[in-house]
Symmetry: D2
Subunit: 89 residues, 4 copies
């Protein structure tokens, strides 16, 4: 398997453990602010996976379409990215 994929999967496995950790925190009635900080940590970890996928996408799929001078494909790729960014916020 691609080493980049392996890294993402390791991150995602860690995130799964963190989500399970939140369940435990709620069951143990831990302090809300601690739970919220832990959720924020998961959010950041997910963000990192997302950035990795995006970088790969720009470097492969998008560059490929543009280099192939396939104008329709290139425009579609850019429209997809803009749509994703728009709904990000």
């Amino acid at each position: 398997m691609n080493p980049d994929h392996r890294e993402q999967i390791q991150r995602l496995n860690k995130i799964q453990g963190q989500v399970k950790g939140i369940v435990r925190m709620i069951e143990e009635k831990r302090y809300c602010i601690d739970i919220l900080n832990q959720i924020k940590a998961i959010d950041k970890a997910l963000q990192k996976v997302s950035r990795g996928v995006m970088e790969r996408h720009l470097n492969h799929c998008v560059q490929g379409a543009i280099q192939a001078k396939d104008q329709a494909q290139s425009s579609e790729k850019i429209a997809e990215i803009m749509k994703l960014l728009d709904t990000q916020k």
Copy 2:
């Protein structure tokens, strides 16, 4: 168990399934944009858990401290929330 907690735990269990789904999407080399949209869906689901915990926190812990007219406690509670919001972005 508190019905509010039960709802949060159900959400977190669903999130765990979604994270596992991303692993599968990467293994199956699915299209990057589809993976990114799926990560965004998890992000929104986590956000909902976070809002629920925050609402509970404001309605219980924070109101409690303020009603008890414990000024030091109230100020600390508000400082905690501000710190959390500051690092949110």
Copy 3:
């Protein structure tokens, strides 16, 4: 005037100058990434104003309502904050 208000107004005046600066950058056809970084700086400055107003709100209006043991008012205040946070993202 309240020193806290004075500080916010100074920040907002600076932000107005920064927005005018972006107009100039566009007119001078400056590099897109430089413009985007400058917009991000404005966004952060606005965020600071927003945090300041929120902190004041929690420390004054919200604490006031809760201390007055006005349950309807307190609940409304907390609902307002939650609504604001929900649409933030």
Copy 4:
């Protein structure tokens, strides 16, 4: 002037007016939540300008570099975008 630039400048002029409006709201001691909602509206308007500049950047500068098959330039363009997105959050 480019019609796209004209549109962005109109938006920025409107944003300047909105920032001035916040100053007035603070001077008139308007309700905090109303001020916060107004700041959020400015934030969204700025976001729109930012998205417009980004879209133009992808369609012109980035496509140009990739089509020219200038690998160093293309990689730099993509790195710039990733850096911008990383600090966005």
